[in-house]
């Protein structure tokens, strides 16, 4: 005997699974496009034979060393940005409160720019600095905002203030740096997938996979937290612990992904709302936002590499494409009685 509520619920789940499958399909198509087309085109069979270790003239290097790591990195980073952004937005109860807007990524950027311009560090060191700085920035924002308890509004406002400060520091470092170093720093800040190699991507993928599982496990708790602090307490959630855990997981994903690609703008901001628009806003959408993020990054990177007169870093493309949507969302959000 199934009752009404149960039938409705199963119906919703079925729809969610269908939506997610369609998204996965789109992702798969994009992966194939990204692997086969480009400065030189290959057939899917050639691509597959390269991936299985066979030697294809001209293809082994381009596919094996360039396109494959690039595609994997795009998927991993997009997935991480998408999930982290979505979790931030849901936890802070405000679709505008994504990590790139409230200044979490700026911490990583400031450290990376410092590493590139002042220390002339190599990419590995810069990445580690970015991870550490990202984590520290969030901690600082949280500590500043924490006074007689936690307040979402204070977290958001503090984030914006910290961001303003770090941006001033970045501009200053750029101004002081030698002219030939500046482009590297600017490229890093825009977010790009050049020079990624498989050496460390496995590790990055593993970390992000594990952390995203933790977030997924906590998705029920996350849904309860959306009811507000009081309700969550009444329903038996340890609010402080749960919130810190979820935020920490998102920040780790964010920092690690940023270390690989730099802050790819708009992805964290857009994935959650897009996933919500497709699957309905009434669920946690963790997986869906991850997939949307991956789709966006792969798509933007393909456009930036192949479809524009100059090669643009993926972050510039995603930022420019995302801008109108961001503004649209902003207007719509404020028009509804939300925020």
């Amino acid at each position: 005997m199934k009752n009404r509520v149960q039938i409705e619920n199963l119906e919703r789940k079925r729809k969610y699974k269908y939506d997610v499958s369609v998204m996965l399909l789109i992702l798969a198509v994009l992966i194939i496009i990204n692997m086969t087309l480009g400065s030189k085109n290959f057939s899917p069979t050639e691509v597959i034979s390269v991936l299985f270790g066979k030697d294809v003239p001209g293809g082994t290097y381009i596919i094996g060393k360039l396109r494959f790591p690039r595609t994997i990195a795009a998927i991993i980073c997009g997935y991480a940005f998408g999930i982290a952004g979505n979790t931030f937005q849901k936890l802070l109860g405000n679709p505008l409160a994504s990590p790139d807007i409230i200044g979490v990524s700026t911490g990583s950027a400031a450290a990376a720019v410092f590493g590139i311009l002042v220390l002339h560090a190599n990419r590995g060191v810069v990445s580690i600095m970015a991870i550490v700085a990202g984590l520290v920035t969030v901690l600082v924002i949280y500590l500043i905002a924490y006074k007689d308890g936690y307040s979402t509004v204070r977290v958001i406002l503090t984030g914006i203030g910290v961001q303003a400060f770090l941006s001033a520091c970045i501009s200053w470092m750029l101004l002081r740096a030698a002219e030939y170093d500046v482009p590297a720093a600017m490229r890093w800040m825009a977010g790009n997938l050049n020079e990624v190699t498989m050496d460390y991507l496995w590790l990055v993928g593993l970390v992000i996979g594990v952390v995203s599982c933790v977030i997924a496990v906590l998705s029920e708790v996350q849904k309860i937290l959306e009811l507000g602090e009081q309700h969550a307490l009444i329903l038996g959630v340890k609010v402080g612990t749960a919130r810190v855990l979820l935020l920490a997981c998102s920040v780790v994903m964010l920092a690690v992904a940023t270390a690989v690609s730099g802050p790819i703008s708009s992805i964290a901001f857009l994935s959650g709302p897009i996933a919500g628009g497709i699957c309905g806003k009434n669920r946690s959408n963790t997986l869906a936002s991850g997939i949307v993020g991956a789709i966006l990054v792969i798509g933007a990177d393909f456009i930036g590499q192949n479809l524009l007169p100059t090669r643009y870093p993926v972050g510039v493309v995603s930022g420019v494409l995302g801008a109108p949507y961001l503004l649209y969302l902003l207007i719509r959000l404020n028009k509804g009685d939300h925020v």
Binding site: G161, F165, A168, S171, W172, S266, V316, L327
Partner: protein
């Protein structure tokens, strides 16, 4: 009888505080002007300063150094006053303790317009940059304000802050899109992106003087009306104030003042945020005193931070935009922690 005497007593205390603040402010301004002209990366003798100021036809190296410092000091006075008055206006029309012209995305808007000018139209002349920055600042500020005012509850602090941040994010990716492919654009642009009052010369100041003075004058006419507005929209309306018009005019003047500064100096943040707060905590919310007092202290603090930047950064300089951020962020944090969450939410 007693209540009357109490009142009188309180008023006299208040007046004394005002007088003290005024004296201290004037002193601060004078001292910082003198210091700003005398000190810097290069030390000069007092006699050189005097001969530079009083126009003896000497043209030693030191005299020229001093002469070069004069326009930046003059501009510092104007810019500091403009920024902090603009901050007062923004804060009072939005009833928002963290409103600051730079939070409205004014700077990014100005940047975008300047970059468009550099990269698409290959503009090289400074007055045109200034015009572009001015237009960009104006357009963006209104856009952000408009977005934030949609919907429930009007312009709430959090809506405004987020709208500003989001618009900034959007615009800055457009800026990078334009800057990225061309190194020469990047080189030109990065000098503009850090706010500094160092680049001012009398030519530029003359250009901006009239809109700024206009802004200052209009501000004082608005003061009483802003006091009424502070009672809340409904009460103000009941008292016969055209709330929307006053708010619109105040916003226009606020952005005008800020845009003038940004056009010449680039983004200088936080002055507009912290000065009004500081002053308000001493003398209260009366705009008739708050506005001039903020202007006075704004000038002093900006010149002083410029000076500190010059000394700390010597042989070069630490741009004033960076200095004000360094000083301003702790203030910002303090304000956020002090303000009741309800009042900012």
């Amino acid at each position: 009888m007693t209540t009357n005497r109490d009142k009188r007593y309180k008023r006299s205390v208040h007046n004394r505080v005002l007088l003290l603040m005024l004296l201290a402010g004037v002193l601060l301004l004078l001292v910082s002007i003198v210091l700003s002209i005398t000190y810097g990366a290069k030390q000069v003798e007092l006699t050189d300063v005097i001969s530079a100021l009083f126009g003896k036809k000497q043209t030693t190296y030191n005299v020229n150094v001093v002469r070069a410092r004069i326009p930046r000091t003059v501009f510092g006075i104007l810019a500091g006053a403009a920024l902090s008055m603009s901050g007062v206006l923004m804060q009072s029309i939005t009833r928002n303790p963290i409103a600051d012209p730079s939070i409205l995305g004014v700077n990014t808007g100005a940047s975008l317009f300047v970059v468009i000018g550099i990269s698409l139209f290959h503009i090289q002349s400074k007055p045109v940059y200034m015009l572009l920055a001015f237009a960009g600042a104006l357009v963006t500020a209104f856009f952000v304000y408009r977005i934030a005012s949609f919907g429930y509850g009007g312009v709430t602090p959090i809506k405004l802050a987020l709208a500003g941040a989001a618009v900034s994010t959007a615009l800055s990716s457009m800026v990078s899109a334009l800057v990225m492919p061309d190194t020469s654009v990047m080189t030109t642009f990065r000098f503009w992106q850090v706010g500094s009052i160092g680049g001012a010369d009398f030519e530029d100041i003359r250009l901006l003087l009239s809109p700024m003075l206009l802004g200052f004058v209009l501000c004082f006419f608005l003061a009483t009306k802003l006091n009424t507005l502070a009672l809340g929209d409904e009460t103000a309306c009941a008292l016969g104030l055209n709330v929307n018009r006053i708010r619109g005019i105040a916003a226009l003047i606020g952005v005008l003042l800020c845009a003038c500064t940004t056009a010449l100096a680039g983004p200088i943040g936080f002055i507009g945020l912290m000065i009004p707060h500081l002053i308000r905590s001493f003398i209260g919310d009366n705009h008739e005193v708050l506005l001039p007092m903020s202007a006075l202290y704004g000038s002093g603090v900006l010149i002083l931070s410029d000076l500190i930047g010059r000394i700390l950064g010597s042989p070069g300089e630490l741009e004033s935009g960076v200095m004000t951020a360094l000083i301003g962020v702790p203030c910002f944090v303090f304000i956020i922690r002090k303000a009741e969450v309800q009042s900012i939410g």
